[in-house]
Assembly symmetry: C2
Homo-oligomer: 135 residues x 2
Amino acid sequence: MSPFPPPGDKAALEEGRALTPRFGPDGLVTCVTLDADTGEVLMVAHMNAPALARTLETGEVWYWSRSRQELWRKGATSGQVQSLVEMRVDCDQDALLIRVRVGGDGGCCHTGRRSCFYRAVAVGPDGPRLVPAAP
Amino acid sequence: MSPFPPPGDKAALEEGRALTPRFGPDGLVTCVTLDADTGEVLMVAHMNAPALARTLETGEVWYWSRSRQELWRKGATSGQVQSLVEMRVDCDQDALLIRVRVGGDGGCCHTGRRSCFYRAVAVGPDGPRLVPAAP
């Protein structure tokens, strides 16, 4: 059972004081994670109700791993634990925006990069290609 | 038919030069939209293959509206057209990060705010509550 109240009407969702996440058919909301100090977008992941509840209870960030289908305490094995600095919710409460401080070596992406968004899309005559993103 | 090649193996996805978005079962990828000048997170929305293709072709941002189930040229009615400045893709190519310049009054959220993330989650003794986010 979700520890969060069910979503109310449009006015309650958009202007109310209750956190009533609109989890999708898969039970997930999207979470965008920023570095609290630099504002850099580190990653996009997902939370289900238990992951969100644990994050708010503990101040350490938990996600739901869609690939492993399990609750995922970010950094549990890598040491790149994310400490929650701020959480925001969007107008219709189906997306979260969090600011975090990252432990360990400060990285986030499983490829070893700091951010998962290390490639930009360049559009040329042969269509889009991926190129290294500007730092 | 998607105008994008099908995703390759893990190495191709993460280190390759081909844009091969991993659209979900609903045909969508998540798109995080930032103000190109301030870095502010404006919104989180979704693109299907046609929306992504039109965005890259035209330089104006198209999404897929899940609520209306239709292609959505952002700003078509409000004038808050988004001009694409940069697009990035994440490690496993299931999320996009775009930087845009916003036309019209520069806003983004249908509630009239500039950003959709206008509320923060405050955790108190009675559980989480939403409060106005710091500007």
